[in-house]
């Protein structure tokens, strides 16, 4: 089934490739956006990923393979981008807490949460993004980032513990 998607809309044609881009653009753009917290930079990075995809099309055999490839390349490009621009790196312990209490849905709190996520160290940030945006398991994340599964689990555990600590501190101040 996955193979027939590529066969029906050959990605080496203009229309086929445009369709391929449209199918995956949200995923690629979102990973970049949540990592970089900069729409313009995320757009440019996402475009670069698809240009690279075009160059590597012959090697990709199925839609699933394309999806995996895109996640992997986007993740690595995000890390390269951070390294080149020397974005400030903060250790997990130094990350500021989202200070407002969290009602059922608060756009300001959500914005703060995204800021907290964006200030995590690069690998931890990508792991959180791949886990909660893409719903990937630890093994898939490990494969995408070329790191051991144990490292993924450790980063995830520490990131969640940190976020929980910040939330408990802020929600503990709410009076009823």
């Amino acid at each position: 089934m996955a193979e027939s998607v590529l066969a029906d809309h050959p990605p080496d044609t203009v229309t086929g490739f445009a369709d391929l881009v449209r199918r995956h653009q949200s995923m690629v753009f979102s990973i970049a956006l949540h990592f970089l917290a900069d729409r313009s930079a995320a757009e440019e990075l996402a475009q670069d990923v698809f240009l690279q995809l075009h160059a590597n099309l012959p090697a990709l055999k199925s839609e699933g393979h394309v999806t995996f490839w895109l996640r992997k390349v986007t993740a690595h490009r995000c890390i390269d981008y951070k390294r080149r621009r020397k974005l400030p790196q903060v250790s997990l312990e130094e990350v500021a807490e989202p200070s407002a209490p969290a009602p059922a849905w608060d756009p300001l709190f959500e914005r703060k949460l995204r800021h907290v996520i964006a200030s995590l160290p690069a690998k931890a940030r990508l792991i959180v993004i791949l886990r909660y945006q893409e719903d990937l398991g630890s093994e898939d994340i490990a494969e995408a980032l070329s790191i051991p599964v144990a490292t993924v689990k450790s980063h995830l555990r520490r990131s969640l513990a940190l976020l929980r600590e910040k939330l408990v501190r802020s929600m503990g101040e709410v009076t009823i």
């Binding site: 753009f29 757009e43 996402a46 240009l51 949460l113 995204r114 959180v128 969640l160 976020l163």
Partner: protein, 128 residues
Amino acid sequence: MTHPDLNQIEKQLKNALRRQNAPADFAEQVLARLAAHNSIPQVRRDPRWSIFTQPLVRWTAISATATCLVIGGIHYRSLRRERAKGEAAKQQLMLALRIAGSKLQLAKAKVNEINATQTANRSRSEEE
């Protein structure tokens, strides 16, 4: 008040990290960059292209192409800047509407609370 459990945090994270739409013309932008990347003329060993073996002609063609690419690049960057500003404005708009919506929700919740309290008080006084 119970402490937030992992499920709640994970729900918050899933919500905050939900996929966002790429700009509407994203695919077209990719194709445009692909076309620009592939549009550099190639010198072929073909009699019909022999005119390009003449240095003056070759350099004129390369200069003209480079100029077009630079102008195209400037135009592209200008469009990108314009779109970036538009996207930023859109984000501000959505934020403002969401803040308004969430505060209306707060008002609604407070009104419901008053109503519930008054109903409870009325029932209590009726029992007495």
